[in-house]
Every structure is written in structure tokens, then in C-alpha cells.
Assembly symmetry: C2
Homo-oligomer: 202 residues x 2
């Protein structure tokens, strides 16, 4: 049995969404995105830094949302969400999958830290504005990628789960303006998926 | 033919190192890690944000070091650097591979920004110190992972290229202290590899 250790409002929503897209059975250990849950000894045994997501699959335990997503698609998938290595879409699948944490999330992390996580007297306006400018720039290639396509590699894939989740977060952070119309339409497509809605409302 | 668009001192050293470990033939387009090279139109055609690495493989072009590493191991590897999905080491391979950009690099990015990239009058001491504290914490699980092992999953793998490169960067940034003896020894093993030395000195 698969067990997902999950906290709403965190990266673990990606995995919940993926599990729903894949139609897999799973148990949910739902926690609050708060130190009282994440930093308790029981959870730090699962993840030494007290983070989510963590996945249990029988005797296998792993963390990092990108790792869990690849693991689930490889060991429990039918190939429909992750092109195999011979597929011509394989390079762009990998590119957008990794663009999420490699390029998109660093400014998003900073923006969340500077607007939500830090107490107001410890926030820094210049750091926030620098991250907002950077986020604005790194959204542009995503807008271009979905100009003529429904999803990042054409059909919906695991890359849309990783990067699509970051796009919805970008929208919540007011980073997606009318200069990014393709991205706005893409985000609407993402948000209309039943599996996404279930994940985000759990 | 493989062509790597590379700038010394950047993440593209990971890919150069991987190419050397794999013994593949490649051409190098060496640039300076400076806007005069990275932001020129010719390079922005390769990467819309003017970043490195970018890999060309015949008609295939892709960016993001994690994507390029997975691509090379899948399409050009013999399997020795990336366990297949049935291998019991597959989950931890993925976990440490993704730990690099998902958990380790965000504080490293901030530290580099706050100590090198920003002019001194725009640096923020509190932001720097917060990133240094976080980096210190996220190194601890890596130290534990290599306590009884030469490399992250036992034998040397692509996870050591991604995370090992970040560990050498951490050492350069003075983040690796004597409380992390396993990590110190691991970094020495990484640095003694001929392929790493060739990559870092190119």
C-alpha cells in the first residue's frame, strides 16, 4: 500500500494530484504545514528535516517531490504520464520537469519566505522585489512553451504536475499578468482537471 | 555529436563531469559566466534566459542540468550510473538526485547571490545568515547518507554528480565544518576523481 505524508499548501499536493491522475489507491497521513506536525519526532524519522512529501510504498520510503513523482510513474505507471527514453518528447519532458525546482521554485521560495513565512519586521523589500523580477522572467519561457499546446509536451504529463503546480502557485502570488496570456489559459486548464481539484481541496 | 554549452564555475560543470565519467565524445562551447557571453542573442536562442548548461545532441536541444544528466544517462549510458526502476537502489538514487535542486541549492543560490553576485551595498546580512543556517541543516542528512558508504547509493552514480557538485560548492562556501566528518571525507573522494578534476579545470 502507498502512504503519502501530506500537508495542504505544500509541495506534497503535487504527489496527491499525481496519485489521483494515476488512479492509484493510497492512504493519506494528513498533517498541518506547521512545525507542531512537521517537526515532531515521529515525522522527523520519516524526513530528517521534517518536510513533506514523504512516500511509503511497502518497505520503500523516499522524500523529494521530484523523486517521488518519477518513482511513482516508473514503478506504478502505465507510461502515459512519462514518455520513455526513445520517445521524441522525452528531452522536453525532462527539461520542463526539472525546470520546476531548478529555475522556477528558487524565486517562488524567496517570495513565500518574504511575504508569508517571515514575521513582518524581518522581511526585506529589496530581496522580495528582486525575486519578483526574476520570477517574472522565468515565467516567460513557460508561456512560450504552451503557446500552441494544451500542455507542456502536448499531452498532459508528469511535467505538468511539477511545473503546473508551480504555475498555480505563481498565479496565487500575483506573478502571472496579462502579458502571459498563454500561461493564463494553461493555468485554467490545470485548475479545471478533476484530479487537481481533488488534490488541492484535500 | 554532443555539444555542451558550458561556463566554468556554473552548474554546467556537472554535465562536463558526467560526460567525462561516461567517456563520451563531445564538443565544448566554452563561454564566460558573464552576461557578455550568456545574454548574447546567439546564446539566448539556445536558452531563453541565457543560462547554462545547454546540450545539443544532433537535432535535440535541452537545458536544465538535472534534465540533461538524466537524458545522457538514459540515451547514452550503459546503466552503470543510473539504476533501473527495478533496482532496490532506485528510490534513493532518485531521492538524492532531486535533493540537489529541491533542497540543497536554494540556500546555496542565496549565499552566492549575497556574497558574490550582488554589489556589496545591496547585500543583506540577515538574508545571508538565514541561508547559511538553512544550508547547515540540509547538509546533515547528506553527512548521514555517506556515513557507511563511499557514495550516496553505495557505488558512484549520477546522484553523486548532482549532489556531489553541490557538496563541493558548499565546501567552497565554508559551510562544511568538522561536525560533518563523513561529508568531508565524501567531498575528498569526489574531488579525487579524475573526471571531476578534468571538469573543474576546463
Amino acid at each position: 500500500m502507498l502512504t503519502l505524508h501530506h500537508a495542504p499548501g505544500s509541495r506534497s499536493a503535487r504527489i496527491l494530484w499525481l496519485l489521483e491522475e494515476m488512479g492509484l489507491e493510497y492512504q493519506l497521513n494528513q498533517m498541518e504545514f506547521h512545525p507542531k506536525d512537521l517537526k515532531k519526532p515521529e515525522h522527523k524519522e520519516r524526513h530528517p528535516l521534517g518536510r513533506v512529501p514523504v512516500l511509503d510504498d511497502g518497505d520503500v520510503r523516499l522524500f523529494e517531490s521530484g523523486a517521488i513523482a518519477q518513482y511513482l510513474m516508473a514503478r506504478h505507471g502505465d507510461g502515459s504520464l512519462a514518455p520513455n527514453k526513445e520517445d521524441p518528447r522525452y528531452p522536453e519532458f525532462l527539461q520542463w520537469f526539472h525546470y520546476t525546482e531548478g529555475t522556477m521554485m528558487p524565486p517562488i521560495n524567496t517570495i513565500v519566505t518574504q511575504t508569508v513565512l517571515l514575521p513582518p519586521d524581518r522581511r526585506n523589500k529589496e530581496v522580495l522585489e528582486m525575486a519578483q523580477r526574476l520570477a517574472g522572467k522565468v515565467l516567460v519561457p513557460v508561456d512560450a512553451a504552451v503557446a500552441d499546446r494544451e500542455y507542456l509536451i502536448g499531452d498532459f504529463s508528469g511535467a505538468d504536475i511539477m511545473l503546473g503546480h508551480a504555475m498555480v502557485a505563481s498565479e496565487s502570488l500575483k506573478l502571472v499578468n496579462d502579458n502571459l496570456p498563454n500561461l493564463q489559459a494553461y493555468i485554467e486548464r490545470i485548475k479545471s482537471r478533476p484530479a487537481f481539484q481533488k488534490a488541492i481541496n484535500t
